[in-house]
């Protein structure tokens, strides 16, 4: 009985929430509106802009170490003025190189492509597209951002400690990460790295629980699960992946803390480490950490990729003026990707001494992922097929995502085979593979989302011409940077090396390395162009004058141009159909709020 009462209250909040919120609006101070905001739209923007700051820093780091790889013999005095002792005489030191590579990886994977991507769009789109006033718990949502912010600050501070940030690779394998004396970065830098990651896990947990509860519980009337836009489904599975896999990383890190500071030997055994000496530890297993890490690490790849997939599905459908091809197949493939994501982690560990027979099971499971991935690719292509395509910048980035996902996905089939992986492991082939399929592709998904939903976020448009320049330079650059790396990797060039010019076998790649580095700088400069476009357009961009500029079916375009806290001024609209009724019955588009006509057949 009491139970019923609570449920009733909760619904009441839904229907009459507007009155409360409208009332609140007048009392908003700067602090509650822009800083400790509980409005999901503001939190989304906070995630986005923090993510952008990190993307610039992480990108800059990659430019710096590409400078070393492209011009190993040159001196750049200005490097010393920004990096100090880390670039004595204008050349980056090996220790600094590893620190840069490690921080670049950690920051891009966790802060930009996890928090910046799913944090932004889950917060922004979930309530708007399912028809809710806000997240299930706006307070926890706010906490989620501030935990992320604290994690960022801790990570940032590790850049400034005397011994430098952690430098053992973003995977933080022991013994490098477990022994203080293994490298300068393994001292304070690693402690800060672990603290930062632990805070990040809390942030993603708070966020993820909120997204799941919101999608399940807060949908508006008529919004059944099969009427959800694919963005929401993708964000739903992303949240599930995060909630189930991040805690495993947390456990792994807790054990690592004990190994570092309390004399345990979970990951350490009686090995000899250069610079440290013979360890007195016994019985630990470094492979255990790799298992724990990749149990998170592999789902993490899909945490990065799925939101991009969802947004691309939506954007491609809207801008092709066609219903998404195979909605249920898209759902099914998202679901099977989410399940498989948990079953394949050890394919990152084929050369660690993993049991070969166990490895072959992982090969089988890994190759299974090709099936749902291919289904998704074919569905995107079929949606585009004979569509009435509008090449907005958002659409271009969405198509770019599909292109990159195919190019990068195909090499994944190579690497998923244990026999091939033994040759290709830790080479530039791997670098090329994961940068294209996970890094750049998800970045493209993020750009597509920003271009597409910018009008909803800020009530203004981004500049189109700058958008086109941004797209073409970035896609050309992405291929020019990473395509040659496949050949380098096939020739055996290992990743994580500081200087290839001293190796007879890799001297032939000196010109190619310089070419890659040059393109990387051009692409980075183009991203600055995007940032200028972004911040200029927030204040001075062309104003949005119509409610639904993309003529889209989904609910977010039924809100006012600049929606307040609570999203809809009146009642939340009721939903009567799925979101992909484009070009149906001679109508260009039929919004979800349009009731189903008498002679219309409703499939969803």
């Amino acid at each position: 009985m009491s139970h019923e009462a609570a449920l009733h209250n909760h619904e009441g909040h839904d229907n009459h929430g507007h009155d409360d919120h409208g009332h609140h609006e007048h009392h908003d101070t700067f602090l509650t509106k822009y800083v400790f905001s509980q409005d999901h739209k503001m939190i989304a923007k906070q995630f986005l802009i923090t993510g952008m700051v990190w993307a610039v820093l992480g990108g800059l780091m990659s430019v710096l170490f590409r400078l070393q790889l492209g011009y190993p013999d040159a001196n750049f005095p200005w490097l010393e003025s920004i990096l100090g002792k880390w670039a004595k005489g204008g050349q980056i030191t090996p220790a600094a190189y590893y620190a840069l590579v490690t921080t670049h990886g950690t920051v891009l994977v966790f802060f930009v492509l996890t928090a910046g991507l799913s944090g932004t769009f889950a917060n922004f789109l979930i309530p708007l597209q399912i028809g809710a006033r806000d997240m299930a718990s706006p307070f926890l949502n706010m906490l989620s951002y501030w935990f992320f912010f604290t994690a960022s600050i801790v990570m940032m501070s590790s850049l400034f400690v005397e011994t430098g940030p952690f430098s053992g690779g973003w995977t933080a394998y022991p013994p490098l990460s477990a022994l203080h004396d293994a490298s300068p970065g393994s001292k304070t830098g690693m402690d800060l790295w672990i603290i930062s990651m632990a805070l990040f896990v809390v942030s993603s947990l708070l966020g993820g629980l909120n997204y799941i509860a919101t999608i399940l519980n807060m949908r508006t009337k008529g919004m059944s699960m099969t009427r959800l836009p694919l963005t929401i489904w993708a964000l739903f599975f992303t949240a599930v992946l995060g909630v189930l896999s991040f805690p495993v990383l947390l456990s792994g890190l807790i054990l690592l803390i004990f190994d570092r500071n309390f004399g345990t030997s979970f990951y350490l055994s009686d090995i000899y480490v250069n610079g440290v000496g013979a360890l007195s530890n016994e019985g630990g297993s470094a492979i255990l950490f790799q298992h724990l890490f990749w149990f998170l690490g592999h789902p993490e790849v899909y945490i990065i990729l799925l939101p991009a997939m969802g947004m691309v599905s939506e954007i491609i459908s809207v801008n092709s003026r066609k219903p998404i091809f195979g909605y249920m197949a898209m759902l099914g493939s998202l679901f099977s990707i989410a399940i498989l994501a948990f079953l394949v982690w050890a394919h990152h560990m084929f050369v660690t001494g993993l049991n070969p027979f166990l490895g072959s099971v992982f090969v089988l499971l890994t190759l299974l992922i090709a099936v749902p991935s291919a289904i998704k690719v074919f569905n995107w292509l079929t949606t585009l097929w004979r569509g009435n395509i509008r090449f907005t910048p958002g659409m271009l980035f969405a198509i770019g995502f599909v292109s990159l996902f195919i190019s990068g996905g195909l090499t994944g089939i190579w690497l998923g085979n244990a026999a091939l992986d033994i040759y290709l492991h830790d080479s530039y082939f791997v670098v090329a593979h994961f940068h294209i399929v996970m890094g750049v592709a998800s970045m493209f998904g993020m750009f597509a989302g920003v271009y597409h939903w910018f009008p909803k976020m800020y009530g203004r448009y981004l500049n189109n011409s700058l958008g086109y320049i941004h797209f073409w330079v970035t896609i050309a650059g992405a291929y020019l940077i990473f395509w040659p790396m496949h050949y380098q990797g096939l020739a055996g060039m290992p990743r994580r090396y500081f200087d290839f010019s001293i190796w007879e076998s890799f001297k032939q790649f000196a010109d190619l390395n310089r070419f890659i580095s040059t393109v990387a700088m051009i692409v980075f400069a183009t991203q600055i162009l995007f940032l200028i476009n972004f911040f200029y357009s927030i204040f001075k961009g062309r104003k949005v004058t119509v409610l639904n500029p993309w003529e889209s079916n989904t609910l977010e375009w039924t809100t006012p141009i600049r929606p307040g806290h609570g999203n809809w001024p009146g009642e939340i609209p009721e939903v009567h159909r799925w979101p992909y009724d484009y070009g149906k019955d001679g109508q260009d588009f039929i919004p979800q709020t349009t009731p189903v006509g008498e002679d219309e057949k409703d499939t969803h």
């Binding site: 009985m1 009491s2 139970h3 009462a5 609570a6 449920l7 909760h10 619904e11 839904d14 399912i130 028809g131 299930a136 718990s137 926890l140 947990l205 629980l209 909120n210 799941i212 509860a213 919101t214 399940l216 519980n217 807060m218 949908r219 508006t220 009337k221 008529g222 919004m223 059944s224 699960m225 099969t226 009427r227 909630v243 189930l244 896999s245 991040f246 805690p247 495993v248 947390l250 456990s251 792994g252 807790i254 054990l255 004990f258 309390f262 004399g263 345990t264 030997s265 979970f266 530890n281 016994e282 019985g283 630990g284 297993s285 255990l288 298992h291 724990l292 149990f295 249920m328 939903v575």
Partner: protein
């Protein structure tokens, strides 16, 4: 979910939006999925323990290690007895928690208060037992990175037995401690008539879920460390 279209009309209606498909308010849904997440944290710990144990040749015999009892004279060995008492304490406190939730459903404030007090006492008793056991093991020379016990077959043991024991029971103890704190807050809120005013005791139900989870984890920790 394709099941919604094929399910019985009643169930299908749950998913059409505008209400919770699980007939639960969002806090309970979030609590359930938080517990799932926490299950993976504990799972990862216990599976790591298993992995290390499987990759080691010998392992200490738990009956040799955990055989003391408070106030028992020196030389008296009572394997399993003390931990059985701890286990029963936690089971009983779980039962009183169920009774508190049940009383909450009937809007029976007195029942909630009485049973919450018993649950809190149970939690504190469990923590005290654990503190005694930790202290005892510490004085035997066991700690993180120190293992005075030999393997069951008399060979030298690595420190991983104690490493995992203190880490995992410590993490569980931390959960019990936070559970006790949550329960005390719930008790205070009940005494202040917060739930009477709201018209429901759903918060007690959510705290209960957490408390049972702690009990559930102990079932696994107890079995894995003390019996297997």
């Amino acid at each position: 979910m394709s099941t919604t279209t094929t399910a019985s009309p009643n169930e299908a209606k749950l998913w059409v939006g505008g209400k919770s498909p699980f007939n639960s308010e969002y806090g309970k849904v979030m609590m359930w999925y938080f517990l799932m997440s926490d299950a993976f944290t504990f799972g990862a710990f216990l599976i790591s323990y298993g992995t290390v144990r499987f990759s080691t040749n010998g392992w200490p015999n738990s009956n040799e290690v955990f055989r003391s009892f408070p106030f028992a004279p020196e030389g008296v060995h009572a394997p399993l007895v003390f931990v059985s008492i701890m286990t029963f304490i936690l089971i009983i406190s779980s039962v009183t928690m169920v009774l508190a939730v049940h009383a909450g459903k009937n809007m029976d404030k007195q029942g909630v208060v009485r049973n919450m007090i018993w649950t809190i006492i149970g939690g504190i008793a469990f923590l005290s037992c654990q503190a005694w056991e930790w202290n005892h093991l510490f004085h035997e020379g066991a700690w993180w990175g120190a293992n005075p016990f030999l393997n069951a077959d008399g060979t030298a043991s690595t420190t991983n037995f104690t490493n995992f024991f203190f880490t995992i029971t410590g993490f569980h103890g931390f959960h019990v401690f936070s559970g006790v704190v949550i329960n005390i807050i719930m008790l205070i809120m009940t005494l202040l008539n917060k739930f009477e005013q709201r018209g429901h005791y759903l918060m007690i139900e959510k705290a209960g879920l957490y408390w049972h989870f702690v009990d559930l984890v102990w079932v696994f920790v107890f079995t894995i460390f003390y019996l297997l």
